[in-house]
């Protein structure tokens, strides 16, 4: 449903680029609201009795307000409702909704060109606040209140992005509504996501009008709050990006490159959004919005309240950041989001870090990378001489070298054993007994082994006469040579191992260094 919706929206967005800024903004906001309505409506219809009431509230509210804009808006809403309500009750035909709604949005810019941005703001804010004002309506208003409360919680989580000044204003704006509703059970996970979303939207540097930006952020969060699951943060991101891009279009006047880039961005984001799956959004978001809307003030008073909330919210926002777990690794593909949401996946619960992307893909990648780094640390302890080495590639090389050297040692020791075996009466029991003594003692002290090995190698090497003349690089070809050369090569290889393990032996030093250089 949402995919179809967005697919409908994307051409609309493109088309809206050509419209004058106010009309485009108006239509886009209407579209966003439609999204909100639709998503929230899905959940409301699940509740079964709530679907009709919010829309009734809205239409009522608009008729009561008497503002020209509102009336028009209400009229548009009413006509939209006529199409929406049966859909909601039937819980079907999602594709019809955007078409009908977009039709309205299409018509409205024609009429609403005189409307100022602030009037639009007020209308939209009244829209949002209307369900809260109709407290006796019942569950739906509560739902909406909670939803808006969640919106507030979005911004409440704190501001990290220094890019936008309105950012903190927005964040603080929503913090107080968050604190009020006590029944935000699912709030925790959603808030962070919403926070990030709101931050994204609010961080748009081109939003000159703070109040308008607040509205936009709120509404985008409103719509985004109902979108997908926690793991689908990216979908909300894209939605916020869409909103932000549309605002960029509007705020940056009608410069065509901006609009085209914004439209491209929108389409790309929408395509990205469509590509993601969406799970059922929690109902608690809707509930969270409602209380925030109830605490939301009338349009003329909002600016005053915002400033108050800003200070209160920033403190709350700072507190929200504290519980975020710090992690060591940094995600290189950050989107620059300010807030870390907490996406509980089905099998792995991951908490994104502050200032990091919250893509499901990037989160999974981060988890994987951290796993790998953990194991690399373990391997560092195993492989001798890797304490100073940092970086995966170098560490990997060291590990490979070590494994190769160990395998070579096994080979050469087996060759040694092959040469020694027939020359000796192989008494398993005696060997085992001696083995027990030898193995237990030297195992914890591996340094002794090279010494023993060296002495034994020396003793063995004294048998063949051609020892010193054997070139070090004939090691691998020694397999075909007579055993004497094998022993010599074994000796050199063991010496190399001695040097690698850092065992200091002055006698072997020249040989080993020569062997190393030859290798």
């Amino acid at each position: 449903m949402l995919r179809g919706q967005l697919q409908c929206l994307s051409p609309r967005f493109l088309l809206f680029c050509s419209f004058p800024s106010s009309a485009a903004s108006f239509s886009i906001l209407i579209l966003i609201l439609l999204l909100l309505r639709r998503r929230r409506r899905r959940r409301l219809s699940e509740l079964k009795n709530i679907a009709f009431s919010p829309f009734a509230c809205f239409s009522r509210r608009f008729f009561v307000s008497g503002m020209e804009k509102e009336r028009f808006f209400g009229g548009g809403w009413k006509s939209a409702h006529a199409g929406l309500l049966p859909e909601v009750s039937a819980f079907a035909g999602d594709e019809h909704l955007p078409h009908s709604f977009v039709g309205f949005g299409w018509e409205q810019p024609v009429h609403g060109q005189e409307a100022h941005a602030q009037q639009l703001e007020s209308a939209l804010s009244s829209l949002v606040s209307s369900p809260s004002s109709n407290a006796p309506d019942g569950n739906d208003s509560v739902v909406i209140r909670e939803l808006i409360g969640r919106l507030g919680s979005i911004c409440n989580s704190g501001n990290v992005s220094p890019s936008s000044r309105c950012h903190s204003a927005h964040a603080s704006y929503y913090s107080t509504p968050l604190s009020s509703p006590p029944k935000l059970n699912l709030a925790g996970a959603d808030h962070q996501r919403q926070r990030m979303l709101v931050n994204q939207v609010a961080a748009a540097p081109f939003l000159a009008d703070q109040g308008f930006a607040e509205r936009a952020a709120r509404f985008s969060c409103f719509g985004a709050a109902e979108a997908g699951q926690l793991s689908r943060v990216s979908s909300r991101q894209s939605l916020a990006k869409e909103v932000a891009a549309s605002y960029a279009m509007m705020a940056g006047s009608s410069s065509s490159p901006e609009a085209s880039s914004a439209s491209e961005k929108l389409t790309a984001v929408v395509a990205e959004h469509n590509a993601r799956k969406r799970k059922a959004a929690p109902k608690g978001k809707g509930k969270a919005a409602a209380p925030s809307s109830s605490s939301a003030m009338d349009p003329p008073e909002e600016e005053n309240s915002d400033s108050k909330r800003c200070k209160a919210a920033e403190a709350g926002g700072a507190d929200k950041d504290a519980p975020v777990k710090p992690k060591t690794e940094q995600n290189s593909s950050d989107d620059g989001n300010a807030k870390p949401p907490e996406p509980p996946k089905d099998y792995i619960h991951v908490r994104a870090r502050r200032g990091q992307a919250t893509d499901s893909h990037s989160l999974a990648e981060r988890v994987r990378r951290e796993k790998i780094s953990e194991r690399m640390k373990l391997l560092q302890d195993l492989v001798p001489g890797c304490n100073k080495v940092t970086g995966k590639a170098v560490m990997l090389d060291e590990i490979i070298n070590y494994v190769q050297s160990l395998q070579r040692q096994v080979e050469f020791l087996s060759m040694k054993l092959a040469t020694l075996d027939p020359q000796l009466e192989f008494d398993t029991e005696t060997l085992l007994s001696k083995e027990m003594h030898q193995v237990h003692v030297p195992l914890p002290q591996q340094v002794l082994f090279p010494l023993d090995m060296a002495t034994s190698a020396f003793s063995l090497a004294q048998l063949p006469l051609k020892l010193a003349e054997n070139p070090p690089d004939s090691m691998f070809s020694s397999l075909q040579l007579p055993p004497i050369d094998h022993l010599a090569n074994l000796w050199e290889d063991d010496l190399r191992y001695v040097v690698q393990t850092g065992f200091p032996q002055s006698q072997e030093a020249p040989f080993s260094s020569g062997a190393l250089r030859a290798e």
Partner: protein, 138 residues
């Protein structure tokens, strides 16, 4: 100790059976015996040990181990990125790590390195013992 037991048993077996074989052949046999004893001491919970045991069961006792190898092993869906981490050389070195995640590969590598170190120390001590026995006689 399990490794020592297996390995020494294999060595004695090889010594008895291959007195007339070539040196290279005996080397190869001893090497296989070393890896097999490594795998036997580890058991079947490591992918590399399973792969080693699957390769060449030369000794009769090894055939019993095939029961362990037939355990069903779930293979999670592996993303392409995980497999193409630049650890191809390591995959080649560590047996039985072909379709593995980088993280699992590193686990297997750690296990493999531990076992290899044990085996190497065991073989060295055997060589020492033999050489000590050998030298006085010569």
């Amino acid at each position: 100790m399990i490794m020592a037991f297996h390995f020494l048993g294999a060595l004695s077996h090889i010594q008895k059976t291959t007195t007339h074989s070539t040196f290279v052949f005996r080397c190869h046999r001893i090497r296989c015996a070393a890896y097999t004893s490594m795998a036997l001491s580890t058991g079947a919970h490591s992918a590399w040990s399973r792969a080693l045991l699957r390769q060449k069961p030369r000794r009769g006792s090894l055939r019993k181990r095939t029961v362990i190898l037939q355990r069903p092993r779930k293979r999670a869906v592996r993303l392409e990125e995980d497999c193409q981490d630049g650890a191809d050389v390591l995959r080649r070195l560590v047996p039985g790590c072909d379709g593995m995640d980088s993280a699992e590969l590193l686990d297997e590598t750690a296990d493999y390195i531990r076992c290899l170190e044990e085996q190497v120390s065991l073989m060295r001590s055997i060589v020492n013992v033999i050489s000590l026995n050998f030298n006085p006689k010569s």
